[in-house]
């Protein structure tokens, strides 16, 4: 596989090192000449010095023969243009842009560029690891449009002893299953919740906070 990485810093270095380790042929485009020299010494990759959003530099980097382009510069707008040039002018099959502003993830999709927001991924990881004791894990599904959370009910939870049909969960949320003493239960309206139940709940980002509050009593 031939990979083109546009960007620099530690992210580019470690990413490219991993790609090379997996047997990929990597070309790096970087606009900083000193960084190019360091990368050339440390990595078995082709290094091209120049602006990766300049079609001529992309041409020199052999972009027409590339399978995947990763645009990972610190500027969202540069990453957008790099991916669009790779698509329209060089017909590269797979293109991926890194975005800093989480809002840009959706915007880039609208503009036809696949994007990942490191900020969003980090905030999910932080929420999952350090956020709320009762939330065991959160998995974003469908680019974060659906959130699947695993919650352990504590003794103090306001829903313990209540039947599901009495919870008044908002629309577009669902308690998908309950793990009780290692036995999965597919819940019905009459199912009564116990302390220590592990609940798998599906929510949307807009009602996630409310559902968590109903189930745990904690504010998110």
């Amino acid at each position: 596989m031939k990979v083109l990485v546009v960007g620099g810093g530690k992210l580019a270095y470690f990413l490219v090192r991993a790609f090379i380790g997996k047997g990929a042929h990597v070309t790096i485009v970087n606009r900083d000449i000193d960084e190019c020299k360091i990368l050339a010494k440390k990595l078995k990759a082709t290094i091209v010095h120049g602006d990766g959003s300049d079609p001529q530099i992309l041409e020199e980097a052999g972009t027409s023969d590339i399978d995947t382009v990763f645009a990972i510069t610190p500027n969202d707008e540069d990453n957008l243009v790099i991916c669009q040039l790779a698509d329209i002018q060089f017909r590269v099959k797979r293109r991926l842009a890194l975005v800093n502003d989480p809002d840009n993830e959706e915007i880039f999709q609208t503009l036809g560029v696949q994007a990942i927001s490191t900020t969003r991924i980090l905030s999910y990881l932080i929420e999952e690891k350090a956020g709320f004791d009762s939330i065991a894990s959160i998995i974003p599904v469908g680019e974060g449009k659906i959130i699947v959370s695993q919650i352990v009910l504590s003794d103090t939870s306001p829903v313990v002893g209540k039947a599901l049909c009495d919870l008044h969960l908002p629309d577009n949320s669902l308690i998908a299953s309950i793990m009780r003493e290692n036995t999965p239960i597919v819940p019905r309206g009459a199912t009564v919740l116990n302390a220590s139940d592990q609940i798998i709940v599906m929510t949307l980002p807009e009602n996630h906070g409310l559902v968590i509050k109903i189930l745990t009593g904690e504010k998110i």
């Binding site: 959003s53 300049d54 079609p55 001529q56 500027n75 969202d76 707008e77 540069d78 957008l80 243009v81 669009q84 040039l85 329209i88 002018q89 502003d101 809002d103 840009n104 915007i107 609208t110 503009l111």
Partner: protein, 149 residues
């Protein structure tokens, strides 16, 4: 060249080009919002300029929302960064559905690609370059007419 209808116009980048347009269009009675990263950039606006000034990065959608981009009739992207202009104009066109969007792009090689995406781009490099070339050709002709001295 007066535009009769009063328009709501957003100008991104208040440098030499942005401020020139903002001053003229504001004098013609249009509603203006000028956006720039640096507050000092607005010093280039004349005292007659009666529009709004927003200090911020227009590639952040929140800044364009602040500027009421959903209500704008026209957006001109005139920052010094080609890629910023290209991103802002695409967001303006595809997300805020602004009826007319124009972008300045310095690099002639990037211009063509964006024309295919339906973004109206103006490249000062090729515009001025073509004027120079045209003028060169004209002067050659006159020299021939005058003959050698």
């Amino acid at each position: 060249m007066l535009i009769k209808k009063k328009l709501f116009i957003i100008i991104v980048g208040c440098g030499r080009l942005g401020s020139y347009l903002a001053n003229k269009l504001s004098c013609d009675g249009h509603s203006l919002v000028a956006i720039d990263l640096r507050e000092q950039a607005f010093d280039a606006l004349s005292i007659e300029y009666s529009g709004f000034r927003i200090t911020g990065d227009a590639t952040e959608i929140a800044v364009l929302k602040d500027a009421k981009a959903d209500k704008a009739d026209l957006l001109i992207a005139a920052t010094r960064e080609d890629n910023v202009n290209l991103m802002v104009s695409q967001v303006a066109q595809k997300i805020f559905r602004i009826p007319k969007v124009m972008a300045r792009v310095f690099e002639p090689k990037r211009e063509g690609v964006y024309r295919t995406l339906g973004i109206e781009t103006f490249c000062p490099t090729s515009l001025v370059g073509d004027f120079f070339l045209e003028s060169m050709i004209m002067s050659q002709i006159t020299r021939k007419e005058k003959g050698e001295k």
